[in-house]
Symmetry: C2
Subunit: 235 residues, 2 copies
DNA sequence: GCGTGCAAAAATGTCAACACTCCTTCTGCC
DNA sequence: GGCAGAAGGAGTGTTGACATTTTTGCACGC
């Protein structure tokens, strides 16, 4: 990485009872997701160790965890690099995400409580209001909460964890800013249908609606990317 | 772990160019999947280091990777333990696996080559023959190859990797031996339908057929487990 | 006999140093 | 002037040792 965009030696909290490697996983993941370290950039163990005020051991352990999560790629004797996510991989990630989100919708339709359904209703209404007023700053966090409520409400912790992992991996795609803000009206129509399917206790309809919601987000993103880059791979 | 079922100091291949931590990930994962280390058992770093003839550093790195993959669980200052997979988690894993496999079927129906379809046909025929003769030793590897061909043929490497990870995680469930060998005739009827849906180029049908195949395997396993254990959690 | 508390042993968390590999750069030769 | 090869530096791979925490075993007291 460039030492240019690095704060001047900010030691990580030395609070014991939580190992440094765990703290470092969050710290490094945060740096990557926030774009502080860009795709293709190398993670210099010595620099990172000095920056966080630790030795290389915990850094290496944290990096192994990040490797398994798909955030970085290790090359023997060369170092670890922030993964480059190509357009092809974005398509793959969205497809898997669609399948997972579809499952969440299906499970939710089978076992959602009335309170959950009413909460989802409220969130969609709030989002519609924000969208009508073009208030993106209000819309975005609501959208996030809405999706979190769905995967958490599915009652399948494994699914929720996997879904979150894939969403995070998608943030590695540098063109991610292109998609947000687009198609708010379309999104909300889809949100309405999703909640309707859940409220109707129709698992198949719910799965299909949730699946399509992600698929249409994929289509919107790919369409923008294609017109801007003519299909070439970018990281 | 008990030193009882450990071979007397078997050093890991010292071939460089591939880091010890990578080799150890495979070695440890193999030990866990093979049941050499049982759920709940602790992975003693010093013992493992001595056993493989390496220091604790690479062992710890490998363990971090296994933790992310869901094979072990680390407790601060206490050690890492082979994960216990409860019946509830098995249900979760199967549901996610069903979603992933359904996606594989859908993608395959959209883009499978004629050669792939004909290969799947042949595999199903071979499995039917093996099932008719009650030849489990022949059936099992064919079944494995069949499922591998489907996830690989989907053209989605991310999906294939995730699917394999979930299958491996399911092997942590100690009652796994209960399911195999059961319902061969049912399985083959499902296999036939899956291939038929792919050959018909019907993504929705294929997805549904592939989904149901996993769901029915889940039901068979849970039914056996429930009658044997009356629903209590087991690792 | 049983529970409490202390001490020793074991195991994990972390660090600093060494070994080897890869890349850069400089030098010498054609 | 350009290219091949060697020397140097930078960085990863690995190790052994130290510090702290947890566990275990035992003695003591109730």
């Amino acid at each position: 990485m460039n030492s240019a965009h690095l704060a001047p030696v900010q030691a990580v909290d030395a609070t014991r009872s939580v190992p440094l490697s765990k703290v470092l996983v969050d710290a490094l993941e945060g740096m990557i997701v926030a774009g502080e370290m860009r795709p293709g950039e190398r993670l210099n163990e010595q620099q990172l160790a000095q920056r966080f005020g630790v030795s290389r051991g915990p850094i290496r352990e944290a990096v192994r965890a990040l490797e398994g999560a798909g955030f970085v790629e290790a090359v023997t004797n060369r170092g670890v690099f922030v993964r480059r996510v190509t357009v092809a991989e974005v398509r793959e990630l969205y497809d898997v995400r669609a399948a997972l989100f579809g499952l969440a919708g299906r499970l939710l339709a089978e076992r959602a409580s009335e309170a959950t359904i009413s909460r989802l209703h409220d969130l969609v209404s709030a989002m519609e209001l924000a969208a009508a007023e073009r208030d993106f700053d209000a819309y975005y966090p609501l959208n996030l909460v809405f999706h979190e409520a769905i995967v958490d409400g599915s009652g399948n912790a494994t699914l929720a964890a996997q879904y979150r992992a894939f969403v995070k991996r998608l943030t590695l795609f540098r063109a991610r800013s292109l998609v947000q803000g687009g198609g708010l009206a379309v999104s909300n129509r889809e949100h309405r249908e999703m909640v309707a399917a859940i409220a109707a206790r129709d698992p198949v309809w719910a799965q299909e609606a949730h699946w399509r919601h992600v698929a249409s987000a994929k289509d919107r993103l790919l369409k923008v990317v294609r017109t801007e880059t003519h299909g070439e791979a970018l990281g």
